[in-house]
């Protein structure tokens, strides 16, 4: 019992920075995982990655202008992300080009601008270290920010739930029965940006995409219904955060990658053993044929 306490509870009980890391990453999972489920259902799983790149220049601009302040960097990231999301969304809505192509175009332009800005200023402090926060160094400001983002995300998800589900599964149907189609799409892209910005405070931009997508992708192997999928994704996110932090504590591994790799393990386990995974599908398929 004592060893179990030492393994699982003591790291969090003894150190305030571990409590903050746990609290911050759990909150992040609460917001980001459901958003990830919708991204996946909309077949935009890779857009999360693109959006993360799109945020970088805005955050870099905030840093170059105001130094290492959370607020300017967040607002900068938000602005850059929203411009890219709206631009890409608008192009795909109002022209013949698909969202994947317009997203790729916009994020590449945004990334190039970012690299240009950083280079003109001269590489002083390595921006990656600044932009990639570490979950071990969450201060009150960062926690408040993440909390606010999670609250906005959850409230928006509750309000627009039905429209979002309809938009994900059959956007043309939603547009034919309601004028909510386009606004909901943009609100959703806004939520993606918001959660990525929240994530870059904690895990860094690229890893925050991991926390968004991996639990969602894993949950897909267990259920077909959207509500349980979101709940399951959040639970997988929680488990990954706890496991990752404990792994980082006991095995002295960097915390961000440890969290994402924990989610990765769940993903692979889900592929194999999920109720819609490889093994189960084989068995059912086989029975069906013999019957």
């Amino acid at each position: 019992m004592n060893t179990l306490y030492g393994l699982l509870i003591a790291p969090f009980a003894d150190f305030a920075f571990m409590q903050r890391a746990l609290f911050g990453s759990l909150m992040l999972s609460l917001g980001a995982c459901p958003v990830g489920v919708f991204l996946m259902l909309r077949r935009m799983s890779l857009s999360g990655d693109a959006m993360a790149h799109a945020i970088l220049p805005g955050a870099a601009a905030g840093f170059l202008l105001y130094g290492l302040e959370i607020l300017p960097m967040t607002i900068g990231g938000l602005i850059a992300g929203v411009i890219v999301a709206l631009g890409a969304g608008a192009v795909s809505r109002f022209t013949i080009q698909r969202e994947d192509a317009s997203m790729a175009a916009f994020y590449l332009i945004s990334l190039a601008i970012g690299v240009l800005m950083v280079s003109i200023r001269g590489s002083s402090v390595d921006l990656m270290h600044v932009l990639f926060g570490t979950v071990l160094a969450l201060n009150n400001e960062a926690l408040t920010l993440i909390g606010g983002i999670v609250a906005v995300t959850l409230v928006s998800l509750v309000i627009f739930w039905r429209a979002l589900v309809a938009e994900c599964l059959d956007p043309l149907f939603l547009r034919s029965v309601s004028r909510m189609g386009s606004p909901v799409h943009f609100i959703f892209l806004g939520l993606v940006v918001l959660n990525l910005v929240g994530g870059f405070q904690a895990l860094g931009t690229l890893l925050s995409v991991g926390l968004m997508m991996l639990p969602a992708a894993a949950a897909r192997f267990w259920t077909v219904r959207v509500e349980p999928m979101c709940v399951l994704a959040v639970l997988i996110g929680f488990a990954s955060c706890i496991a990752g932090l404990l792994l980082s504590y006991h095995a002295s591994l960097p915390s961000g990658p440890a969290i994402i790799l924990s989610a990765g393990v769940v993903y692979f386990a889900s592929i194999l053993f999920g109720s819609r995974g490889i093994l189960r599908a084989r068995i059912i398929h086989h029975r069906h044929r013999t019957a």
């Binding site: 150190f15 920075f17 002083s124 570490t134 160094a137 960097p254 915390s255």
Partner: protein, 313 residues
């Protein structure tokens, strides 16, 4: 694009050879220094006879610097390239190759007794049976943090300048001797300041392990959560160990460096209630109007900050 770069390089080689042949005296020796501390040494030794280009500027991190075409151009035009060596400048070999420079590359740590990074955390990990990196030793490149080594740097610079510009050799040697005297005085100041700190309190925390030589030479212990280079991300175990050490009153002060992300240090400080001392300058000098615009100012600044924070807490 490639053609025009090649043409530019060829042009620069041609113009340089012309200069060498006609007037070795009139044109200043073109020196490229990899980072600000070396540039400062070179300025003191070379005086007016050299023009110095610094690749990684003030407050820049040489471990992860990405060179620009302008750097390659400066490198290609240089007569002497001064580098730290010991894998301090990760970008350097690529830049030398890319610029196809004819300059002599002078490694200033030649003659320095290299020390390894102390395996403080690796040891503790091995004791717990959890570490995989225990026992692995890596050479610490921050040799300039010991003033004894700085004297070797200066000697190497003077020799390199003499080899490239024999007319100015006397002046280089005189400048080097004058500067070495200043370094001797500086070393005296640093040792005196350390002496004034009680022995039990000579432990401080910084954000990246750059003070191995300082520690070795002057008997002050530095603990760092980030390890050998600013590249690596800390693990929860590292941070937890630091917090424990501070709580057991083993560390007396905590510092932020000019080139790293201060968030982690601030978090440790707020958890333990230890006060964050001022900024220490480790791998780069400050801007000209900053507190550490020269090597001597940097060492003075660091020792003053350390002493102030330890005695003040």
């Amino acid at each position: 694009m490639l053609k025009s770069i090649r043409a530019a390089l060829a042009m620069s080689v041609i113009t340089l050879t012309v200069f060498d042949a006609s007037s070795a005296f009139a044109a200043p020796l073109k020196v490229v220094a990899s980072f600000t501390i070396i540039a400062d040494f070179a300025r003191n030794v070379g005086g007016d006879r050299v023009s110095i280009t610094t690749i990684v500027g003030p407050d820049g991190d040489a471990h992860v610097y990405e060179p620009s075409p302008a750097d390659a151009v400066a490198m290609a035009k240089a007569d002497v390239v001064l580098v730290n060596g010991l894998h301090f400048e990760g970008f350097l070999q690529r830049l030398v190759d890319a610029s196809a420079t004819k300059a002599s590359i002078v490694t200033l740590t030649k003659g320095v007794t290299p020390i390894d990074f102390k395996p403080e955390f690796a040891d503790a990990d091995a004791a717990e049976g959890a570490g995989t990196g225990g026992g692995k030793t890596v050479t610490d490149p921050h040799a300039f943090q010991s003033i004894a080594n700085a004297r070797i740097y200066v000697k190497n610079i003077a020799e390199a300048f003499c080899a490239a510009d024999s007319d100015g050799c006397v002046s280089y040697q005189t400048n080097a001797a004058t500067y070495t005297k200043k370094l001797d005085a500086l070393e005296g100041d640093v040792k005196e300041a350390i002496q004034s700190i009680p022995e039990a309190k000579r432990v401080v925390i910084t954000s990246h392990d750059a003070f191995g030589y300082f520690e070795h030479a002057y008997g002050l212990t530095f603990l760092a959560p980030q390890g050998i280079s600013t590249d690596s991300e800390p693990s929860a175990a590292d941070v937890a160990k630091l917090v424990e050490q501070v709580k057991q009153d083993k560390a007396a002060a905590i510092f932020v460096e000019n080139i790293t992300n201060p968030r982690l240090i601030e978090q440790i400080a707020s958890e333990t209630g230890i006060k964050v001392g001022g900024t220490l300058y480790s791998d780069a000098l400050s801007q000209p109007d900053g507190p550490a615009s020269t090597y001597i100012d940097m060492m003075h600044n660091n020792i003053r900050q350390i002493k102030g924070a330890i005695l003040g807490s």
